[in-house]
């Protein structure tokens, strides 16, 4: 083919790029065939639509008015602006536009070069998705990192002082062993072993939290009520507290350790942090089509609005001390929450300052558990 063969009108009309000439108000003056084909309107129909802005989706219209049009008027050109066009069949055609102002004497119009970027758009969406995911991961890792920092601080602090006192006691014994009565030695050793036992329990808790144990269901359903009674007895040895549990049998297949941990923790928290002379705790149960639902209700001081987020975070202890004037390790509820979420259950609570808190635990029925 030589230059003589070229028909510029045809080249324009069939160019692999859409083209529009519009008046300053957006009215369509000329359009090439390619653009007509892309959006499914005939040239005649497009000229009837009159204004190309009418083809833009609402979001694009705003972008056009607030960004594209000002750009065009100020710098007489705009590049790589993305719009969405509504095709005749209602589908969206994502486009990229380069535009230039045309001027002849006083007459002004603008010329739009339109690229179909359907595939690039998909790619962009993919990138956006990955970017969001990366942001999410970063956020999670940051939280995790914070958690680990708190863990390190807690361990260092909580283990160091008792170990230091064990050490001092041991040194004292060593140096003064001749002068101390065997009775006293016995007392010192008891102190040492008690302190070490506490630390072992604490370490166990940490290990529990980070261990990814698998939940083994029992083969047959069993009645949970006797176990509840035992859990309650363990925290209420002197029978000082008023703890109510359901009478009707509750049939479950979750292992007993699961309930010992989850319910045991909630009940002992309810007791520990109660500020009333008469501690009252109530465990109740209901079964829905999908869930075992347990409630643990107390008459304690309630959880402050600003603390609600923190309650389940590991190694975060609220400023309140328990009735034995001790701070917790901030692991109990975190472990409980983890255990429950591992079976895709939920734990939530409602609380009223001064009146108490009601925890709700939803456990998927055994046959609906994720495998």
């Amino acid at each position: 083919m030589t230059a003589n063969h070229l028909n510029y009108e045809e080249i324009y009309d069939k160019a692999p790029i859409g083209h529009l000439v519009c008046g300053l108000d957006g009215s369509i003056i000329q359009v090439n065939q390619t653009l007509c084909d892309w959006i499914g309107y005939s040239r005649k129909e497009l000229l009837e639509i009159k204004n190309w802005v009418n083809l833009l989706t609402m979001g694009s219209k705003i972008y056009y008015e607030t960004h594209f049009y000002p750009l065009l008027l100020i710098q007489c050109a705009a590049f790589e602006i993305h719009f969405d066009l509504r095709k005749k069949n209602g589908n969206i055609l994502p486009i990229l536009v380069n535009a230039k102002l045309l001027q002849k004497n006083e007459e002004k119009a603008y010329s739009l070069y339109i690229f179909d970027i359907t595939q690039r758009r998909e790619y962009e969406k993919e990138l956006m998705y990955l970017r969001k995911k990366a942001e999410q991961t970063t956020k999670e890792l940051t939280e995790r990192n914070e958690e680990l920092k708190r863990l390190a601080a807690t361990i260092a602090h909580d283990l160091k002082s008792p170990i230091a006192s064990v050490y001092t006691t041991a040194i004292y014994l060593q140096e003064n062993i001749e002068e101390i009565s065997s009775e006293q030695i016995q007392q010192f050793l008891e102190l040492i072993s008690k302190s070490i036992k506490n630390q072992i329990d604490f370490i166990d808790k940490i290990l529990n939290y980070y261990r990814d144990g698998k939940l083994e269901l029992t083969e047959k359903a069993y009645n949970l009520v006797p176990l509840l009674r035992e859990i309650v007895r363990n925290v209420n040895l002197e029978n000082k507290f008023e703890i109510e549990i359901p009478n009707e049998p509750i049939l479950v297949r979750y292992p007993d350790v699961f309930f010992q941990h989850v319910l045991g923790n909630l009940v002992s928290n309810a007791i520990k942090y109660c500020d009333k002379p008469k501690v009252k705790v109530k465990i109740s149960y209901e079964k829905t089509n999908d869930f075992h639902i347990f409630y643990v209700e107390d008459n304690g001081k309630g959880i402050k609005e600003e603390d609600k987020e923190k309650v389940f975070q590991p190694f975060v202890t609220l400023k309140t001390k328990d009735r034995f004037n001790k701070h917790g390790h901030g692991l109990g509820l975190a472990i409980v929450k983890r255990m429950i979420e591992k079976v895709e259950g939920k734990i939530s609570f409602e609380s009223q300052i001064g009146f108490g808190t009601k925890f709700k635990i939803e456990l998927p029925l055994e046959e609906k558990l994720p495998h």
Binding site: M58, G59, L71, H82
Partner: protein
């Protein structure tokens, strides 16, 4: 930090009266380029970039503060305060018309006139009160999506061919680099506030002498909106400009200057 740096404030011209120009959504102070030279001869001109836009110090964009237009209205008052301006003529385009309104309602004594260019106090149609803001709820959702997809549009470098000031090339350079570029995250947040706020209840409280400028056609505000704003502000004049688009200061600056001058001298 002083307001000059914070909001990239530019003070031009001479005159006893001051005009404070505030640009609309999606751009910066250079939107006023065709209007400013005319008023510069007779007035002191103060231009600034809305926090989060243009050359403002975006590190001060506090998502909490700017979760309502009141945050921006406070900025206007801060600028007036710190520059010790006498009662100003406030000219606000689009969302800034509403920001100006809020500022006027807070401290009317700081304003002599309010010029609202293409205001829209509420973009969403409300059939129950037969209010026509021009958009449906669905439309508004699309805006947010559209801003998401225009991520590249906001950030990609746009080389503008703008006339610089020959004696201050460095200023021109700075404008060139920043023209209409906005942080995409802030742009998205600001869009939600700009197009999602309902400020209709503020209109009747306006005590400042007001000019309402409505263009026809304006894809972002049907004529009924201009009429509504005019009706709600008792001390107001409505001017309808038959120039297409949402930015008469760019599309027909001559006409805009004319109606403003007429209003200010009346």
């Amino acid at each position: 930090m002083n307001v000059i740096e914070k909001y990239f404030v530019n003070v031009l011209g001479n005159g006893t009266e001051t005009i404070l120009f505030a640009h609309g959504y999606g751009c910066n102070q250079s939107m006023w380029r065709y209007v400013v030279p005319e008023f510069e001869k007779t007035h002191k001109i103060v231009l600034y970039d809305l926090m989060g836009c243009g050359n403002s110090k975006t590190e001060y964009y506090d998502y909490q503060k700017y979760s309502s237009l009141n945050g921006h209205a406070q900025d206007v008052l801060d600028i007036i305060e710190e520059l010790k301006l006498p009662p100003v003529i406030f000219v606000g385009h689009s969302v800034s018309a509403m920001i100006g309104l809020l500022a006027c309602n807070k401290k009317p004594e700081k304003f002599s006139h309010l010029v609202m260019v293409c205001p829209n106090p509420y973009f969403i149609n409300e059939p129950s009160s037969s209010y026509t803001g021009g958009f449906s709820e669905q439309d508004l959702k699309e805006i947010s999506e559209s801003l998401d997809s225009n991520y590249l549009g906001w950030t990609s470098y746009i080389t503008p061919v703008i006339a610089g000031t020959p004696d201050k090339p460095e200023v021109a350079e700075e404008l060139k680099n920043s023209f209409c570029r906005n942080d995409p995250e802030i742009a998205k947040h600001f869009a939600k506030i700009s197009f999602g706020s309902d400020l209709r209840a503020e209109l009747p409280h306006c005590k400042v002498k007001t000019l309402v400028i409505q263009t026809v056609p304006d894809a972002l505000a049907p004529v009924s909106v201009g009429e509504y704003v005019h009706k709600q502000i008792s001390n107001s004049t409505l001017k309808i400009l038959h120039t297409p688009g949402h930015a008469p200061h760019l599309s027909d600056p001559k006409k805009l200057i004319e109606v403003m001058t007429e209003f200010l001298s009346s």
